[in-house]
Amino acid sequence: MADVNITVDGKAVKTPAGTLLIEACKSVGIEVPSFCYYPNLSLQGACRMCLVKVEKMPKLQTACTTVVAEGMIVTTDSDEIRQARKGMVELLLGNHPLDCPVCDAGGECELQDMTFSYGAAESKYIEPKNHREEQQWSPVVFFDRPRCILCYRCVRVCNEGMDVAALGVQNRGVSSIIAPNNEDHLECEECGMCIDICPVGALTSGSYRYKTRPWEMNHVGTVCTHCGDGCKTTLGVRRADTGMEIVRGDNRDKSGINNDFLCIKGRYAFDFANHQDRLTQPLIRKNGQLTPATWEEAFELIGKKFSAIREKDGGQAIGVIGSNHTTNEENYLLQKFARVVLGSNNIDHHRTADFPAFAAALRGRANATASMRDVYNAPAVLLIGNDPTEKHPLLAWQIRSNVRLHRSRLYVVNSQPIKLRRQAAGFQLIPAGAEGAFAAFLAGEDAALASLGGSKDGWTALRDKLKTEENLVIVFGSELREGDITALVKFGSAVPGAKFLALADYANSRGAADMGLYPDLLPGYLPVAEAGKFHQEWGGIPSAPGLSLPEMAESAKAGKLKALYVVGANPIARFGIDPFVFSKSFVVVQDMFLTETAVIADVVLPAANAYEKSGSVTNTSGDLQLVKKAGEVTGTKGDFEMIVRIADAMGFDVRQLVPFGRGTRADMGQTRGAQSGEADRHAVWLEANGLELKMSPFDPMAILDEIQRLVPGYNISRLALLSGNDQQTNFAASGPAVAQKPELIVPAADGLFRSGTLGRYSHTLHSVMENKDRQPSEEVAAD
């Protein structure tokens, strides 16, 4: 659209036609106050804070509803305007309880700020304020009615943004109130978006309310550790006698791929970290019992055992299982440790998507993977399988927002009537398990129609329509594996600008795959037989494929696997493995809790979680982001440090493992225990100035140089990473991979209110009534 010229406070402003006046003012740094206006939500014109003078109009006009017009002359500051704003604030404060000293929003409240800016210090009323009782709508959502200024942001974000519509307005006049959808309580997705968007302290969070004051927390911007989508979240952290306590997760920093969004897990389910069952001391099995021990004892024992087995039975007698939740640096280090220190390719992880097949299919194709941001911007999206509302809440939000704000066309092919069909321009129900047949049909195999049901004409019309979509983003669930993915990519290659996105379930599932937690693949999907550059870097490494996770169990059962090293995983529970198969193996587990796997261990090392460490993670769409350490829980260690310690205890020269102090250029500062944003700024500054720091071998960043150098697709801007930006990695230069057995992929049983082992230790997730299999928290504690 053509640009329009207007004048605001004497400044000439050029802005695209159709721009709202309030946004045009913002674009030249003129702030027009607002309560009800919120970008990307429908317009209300309700709070009347944004009144400005538009020449030739007799009355003041609301900048939030006025669209710029050529030649418009606008004044945003005058006695009349200031009085209008002051008048509005006075009217709001009239009935406002002014309990700022105890209000959660105190210090972060738009009404406070507005009062500060426009002044309404003197109350003109002597009648009592209208009072109403506070209400609890759900374990996570409380409503303090007197504080509500009726800006309707909560109603809109729930309705328009979440497509839940759990909130509405009841009654009229001064009796107007925001009300939940089920008489006195909410039945909804419990995302807390309504709380985050509330400009005042009317909606407050069950887990945070009355706990602290905003200025008493450190605010640490990191990445949610629950699902594969990688939302940026800001953790509010306090010191506590356990070392630290996370009291809030929110979205103050809207710079992330998720912009406004967080789901219940990102916003509340950090509470597993404070669970009473958290391990804070190493445990060693003595006389059959797991008994508290010192770190030195534990490392010495592991070092001795691992060395002895490696010497006697060779590396192939040791198995290593990595994690979907640990950082890229840790995963990279772990597989390097297995291959270089243990001399074993027996390394695997819980796979939730066929990334090797995906990488192989996209090899040599630049710009073929869709980022989370692409999903928000693409003119059309095809979704095959999965139910993102349940399993990929951010992805679902991106799709909904794209359809709502950009009129993107969504096509859904699923075996269930999933909620996203409500946004779909086309929805096709298929029999369960027919997702692969659909991919085959797309690729031109008409025989596959037999498994799809429905009419041939309908399917052909859909395929033809999809072929005409430019810049189509094709999103698929783990129902598609191996050849299905090849077929899908074959189809997409014929669609100009098409990009792909494979859905995997955990916070760093993609990173685990990219970093080579496979028995037959090195980092970057390079087959172990073609280890060329890694041989050069690392010296000799075994070139025969190692054992997959189930094969390790088999080998242990046969008495061949003498040791198992599990880092942040729970294979016994996830794969239903009989724990007794490991009864003769020496088992080491690094975890936060005594999981089903940890209880069979000979040594259990208490681990830090993703909120307690620094590093990077890669979400399911390949967006690489920085995780920052919110603080330390006393008695735990990061997995990175523990791996290095074990190598050290085995007598290995750790400099061969972690090239610390050798030409690396930046450090996170955070390993020294710093918690505030200061350390991040420090790191950015060091990086920008090309300064080198002495680093310890326990600094995860020490290995990032090697990852950037050796893992295709990961040569990203270090500065952008440290600054908290997301960057997309891709498969263009990936290795050719090797075909994987499809049955090795075991989708997580997670949903909106479930999050694997972590979720079991989250009181919040168990407390909400929508969690269908919730248990009283005592039972949770017991398992």
Partner: protein, 436 residues
């Protein structure tokens, strides 16, 4: 049901069939019913619009916008269906005229809607009637059913090959729903809160389609204009204020009632002659000339022609034609309180200034009238109302603020007489204020 009154100065056009049993379709036909719409069927839409424009008919709902002009804003072709709405939500205190039309001449409203629909190319009309007018809804619904039964509305009306559906819809008891965009929300089944404008209803209205909305009296006037001609109608009133209108005389008068008088009829004469003067030999104190939202006029300000422009010049508004006459036993503080109680009760609550402002005005005036007033309250009342004026989302906020400002400005002394714990000087004389 209200008694009909009459006066020799009346020019009966809209009220022509009052008391004639015209709710009966046959009787309506005897009294020239459905002739105008048949004439309209033979006319070009633009000619209908021009005829109405030239008649000088201005909206009887309150704002007084030229009806023909409003119709001309509707685009000729539109991707969505067009609608005609009859606003029969009549709830402004002091206004009680549309109810007589619904009671005595319901078919004239149907005919008016039909002509408007033909003029703008719409095939559906809604007649929205105030929720409290339950008994009138029955009459209106029967009239619609009768018209359907004769094929006057529905498919192929009067054998013209054109289709036109007309529906009835009842309100749920909200004054605010008389505001045109809130009425559309209500019709769509939502809470009765107004919409952001622009876009205006003529372009984006009901269900997103171009929509004409007119007051019931406005629409009931249209058939007469079609039959009598634009010049005849325009000639009845003053320049730019064509025809007659129903004035609702209420308050302390000898002969209150609804009278149809030419536009521009003198207000003083209306009170003294048509309304029979002040009752019980008391003196005139103030007049609210156009419904409770219009600023009050003092006795020395009422020598004014009752047309939209002249009353505006006199500092008030012709509004919806509700003339409320107050005698010298009326406590103006209590009257101000009664007025604001209404608006506080009816505020939809959407926007801050009206929702909070009417509530604080009500609280302050209540205390003030009960003798606990402070001197600064008087300024505060004015300050509050001025903070609302012109800044609310819809005109209801203005409707509350304007009269309040006028009461304080014009009767400041009376407010001061309530100070210092003094009892209301009028309390013994008047049990209830005029607008009960």
């Amino acid at each position: 049901m209200a008694d009909l009154v009459s006066h020799s100065d009346e020019v009966k056009i809209v009220s022509r069939r009052f008391g004639q049993g015209a709710a009966n379709l046959d009787r309506y036909l005897e009294l020239d019913g459905y002739k105008a719409v048949q004439k309209a069927l033979s006319m070009q839409p633009d000619d209908i619009i021009n005829l109405v424009k030239n008649s000088g008919l201005r909206g009887r709902g309150g704002a007084g916008f030229s009806t023909g002009m409003k119709w001309s804003f509707v685009p000729k072709t539109a991707p969505k269906p067009k609608y005609v709405l009859c606003n029969g939500d009549e709830s402004e205190p002091g206004t009680c005229k549309d109810r007589l039309i619904f009671e005595h001449d319901p078919h004239s409203v149907i005919e008016g809607v039909m002509i408007a629909a033909l003029a703008v190319g719409s095939q559906a009309g809604y007649i929205y009637i105030r929720g409290e007018y339950r008994y009138l809804s029955n009459i209106m619904q029967k009239a619609i059913a009768d018209a359907y039964a004769r094929g006057f509305i529905g498919k192929n009306i009067f054998g013209s090959g054109r289709d036109l559906e007309i529906y009835w819809h009842g309100g749920a008891g909200a004054y605010e729903v008389g505001e045109e965009s809130a009425l559309m929300e209500s019709l769509e089944g939502k809470r009765g809160i107004p919409r952001i404008r622009p876009p205006f209803p003529a372009v984006v209205g009901l269900w997103g389609g171009p929509t004409v909305i007119n007051n019931a009296e406005t629409l009931a006037s249209v058939p007469h204009i079609l039959l009598g001609g634009a010049e005849w109608y325009a000639g009845l009133g003053t320049p730019k204020n064509g025809g007659t209108r129903l004035f609702c005389l209420s308050g302390n008068l000898n002969k209150p009632g609804v009278y149809e008088l030419p536009m521009g009829y003198n207000l003083k004469k209306m009170i003294e002659e048509v309304g029979g003067g002040i009752a019980n030999g008391r003196k005139l104190k103030a007049v609210v000339p156009g419904g409770s939202s219009t600023p009050v006029l003092l006795p020395n300000e009422i020598d004014v022609a009752m047309d939209f422009d002249s009353v505006a010049k006199a500092g008030s508004m012709l509004g919806s034609g509700g003339v409320v006459v107050l005698d010298d036993t009326t406590c103006m503080v209590k009257f101000a309180l009664r007025t604001i109680k209404f608006y506080q009760h009816e505020s939809c609550g959407w926007c801050i200034p009206c929702r909070e402002g009417t509530d604080w005005l009500k609280k302050t005036l209540t205390r003030f009238h009960h003798g606990a007033g402070q001197k600064k309250d008087i300024d505060n009342i004015q300050y509050l109302a001025e903070n609302m004026l012109g800044r609310t989302f819809c005109p209801l906020g203005d409707a509350a603020a304007m009269p309040t400002i006028a009461f304080v400005k014009k009767f400041r002394q009376e407010f001061e007489d309530h100070l210092d714990g003094k009892p209301c000087p009028y309390e013994k004389n008047v049990a209830e204020p005029a607008l009960a």
